[in-house]
Every structure is written in C-alpha cells, then in structure tokens.
Amino acid sequence: MKHLSEEQLVWFYYRELEDLAGVEEHLAGCDSCRVAYREIESLLEQVEAPVPERGEEYGSQVWHKLRPRLEPRRLWAWPRWVLAAALAGLVVAAFFAGRFWPGQLRPAPQPIAQPVREHILLVAVGDHLERSQMVLLELVNSQPDGEVDISEEQQRAQDLVAANRLYRQTAARAGEAGLASVLEELERTLIEVAHRPALLSSKEFEELRRRVEAQGILFKIRIIDSQVRQREQTIRSRS
C-alpha cells in the first residue's frame, strides 16, 4: 500500500484535502502513516502565537488616533491636482511679483525683495522634490508577489505633475537650467507613473520599477534637492 506524503498529512490536519475519508481510512489501517501524522499534529498544535489582549474600548482608541488623519473626501471638490497646481501657481506668482510688478500704474505695494522671492521658491521646490522622491521611493521599494494596486501612488504622482510643470517653467525663466532639466525628467517619470493602469501584474510592476531606476531620477532628485536646501539655508542665514 502506498503511504501518505508529508504534504497530504499536513493538508489532512487542516482538513483541506478532497478525499478526507480516504485518508482517515488509510490512517486507521497504517501504523507508520499514523505515527507520522501524530507527529505533525503534535507539532502544529504547539505552534501558537499568543496575542496581547485588546479590550472592548480598543476600536474607539484606534478611531481617535486615526480621525485627525482622515480628510473628508468631497466628491464634488476640485481634483487635488488642481489645488496643487494652484498652490504652485501662488508660489510662482510670488516669485515673479518682484520682477514684473507694474510700478508705473500704481505706487502701492512694495515688490518682494529678491532674496525673499528666491527663498519662497526654493522652499516650495524643496518640498515638491521631497514629495516626489517619496512617491518614487515607495514604488521602487515595493516587492509585490502578485498583482499590485498603485492607484494611491498614481493619484499622488498626478497631483505632483501639475505643480512640477509650473516649477519647471519658473526655473527655466529664472535661468536655473540644472533645476529645470531635472524637473523636466521628473515630470516625464511622474507622467509615466500616473498614466499606467492602476492594477499592475508583478511583471508590469517590475518593468516600471526598472524604468524608474534606469532613469536615475532618484539620484538626480537627491542631488538637486540637497543643492536647493543648501541655497535656501544660505539665503536664510543672510537675512
């Protein structure tokens, strides 16, 4: 008579075999399989993982910690990318306010001083680079075993694209060729992430990750971000 395999015995323990009755019958008549099964049974019965107690009030504690992190999702609200672009637009407007203020028409407000304008832009671009870096890092560091949902990262990438465009144009107009060039590459990468399907097979995901890594964009962001931060600090220490 053919003996039962270790795998069959394990699945018999979990009652996930098609022919449970057949296995039971075999065990009743086969000493060696019965001994092997007892061993597996006693091993698996020892495998416990006691969990610390959480009382009835636990759900409420979780909720109170979670609540401040939840934003109301208004279905009628403007998409987040519009808000991100608007914010970036304000920063850019502040940057150019000092350059193109129409002084002849009205004497009123004082133009924003050059270091202040530059500081505003550098802080905003620095934050933008960090946010972009986080999205790309999360993608690059994921190791999915099966299908992966990147809709959240895509949403964030979409938000960043609109802002990125404004910062890139501003940097180009301000003669910041290096910054504009990295922002241009970043924009291409963000668009690529945003335009993929939300659900990727592990193969498609791996391909996306390889493309992001091959572009070396994370390294470039890191370099340019640290330069931006340094300049920002220098301006701050001078003022």
């Binding site: 270790e6 795998e7 394990v10 699945w11 979990y14 996930e16 597996i40 091993l43 698996l44 020892q46 495998v47 416990e48 993982a49 006691p50 969990v51 610390p52 107690e53 959480r54 636990y58 759900g59 409420s60 979780v62 909720w63 910690k65 979670l66 609540r67 992190r69 939840l70 934003e71 109301p72 999702r73 208004r74 279905l75 560091n141 994921s142 190791q143 999915p144 075993d145 099966g146 299908e147 949902d149 809709s151 959240e152």
Partner: protein
Amino acid sequence: MEQSEAAAIEQARAGDPEAFRVLVEQHSRTVFRLAYRMTANEQDAEDTVQETFLRAYRQIRQFDARSKFSTWICRIAVNCSLDLLRARQRRRESEDPIIPDSAAGDQPSPERLAFSRQVQRKVTAALAELSPAERAAFVLRHFEGVSVGEIAGVLGHSNGATRHSVFRAVQKLRRALEPLR
C-alpha cells in the same frame, strides 16, 4: 452584512469620515490580532492597524459592496503587514528576531512553563525566518483558519502557490522544533 455596517460603508463611500468610525470600531481587534501575528511586534501591529484603516478609508470607493468588508479589510491588513515585513527584512540582517511578550494566561508547572517558553521562542524565531509570503499564508491558514482559496485571493497567488507557501512554512517549523523533540 449587518444593516449598520452596510449603511456606514455607503456613507463612507460618499465621503463622510464619521461614518467610517463604525467600521473602525467593529474591525480593529481583528485587524490588530492579524497584524500582531504577522509582525510579532506590538508597536508594529499598532502602526499596521492605523495604516490599514487609513488605506481602507482612501480606497473605500473601490470596495465592492457585494463582498464581505471583513475579508477586504483583512486583505489590506495583510498587505500593510507584508510591506512592513519586507521593509524589516531589508534592514534586518544583523538584528535578532523579535520575540513577543508572552500573552499566555494559564500558569502550569515551572518545567512545563519553561519548555513551553522554549517552544514559543523557537516558533517565533522560525516564523521570523519565513519569507513574507510564507508567513502571511501560514498565519492566515494556521491561526486565522482561512481557507487556501481565500488566502490565494488575499495574496493574489494561485491556489497551488499558496498551498506550497503554507507547506514550506510547516516544513521550516518542523526543522526548527526538531531539536526539542
């Protein structure tokens, strides 16, 4: 699905964060238990609970109302735990496996207790050595009593691959506990 849960899901899908409270209060303990078994660390489990509900809130419009919310939230919890385990695996090499505090209640004889603690330590160490996919499959099958078919759905694997993960986990546990037998 209970009426209150169905209504809460509907309102949360419409963008009301307060409606989400019912779901959090109802499923927090289950999510914590699963997260703790996956991560073997209380703080990591707490972080996973928060991350799970945050992701669920952001993705609730993708929830198919015909499915069970408990299955959906457990799937998110497993994925959050897997992310954490993978991140931990990347930075872990030099660290010892985390041994959780014993949460056992009964106090048998000192010898039995010592033996049981020894087994527990071995089991914990062996569980920590499993790959994230093996650990997830084993925890769901062994501790949570989830069927192979459902686990395969949660992990996005085939039934065959899931069975293989569980079986490999059992083999590794057998090898780890062999010296105590």
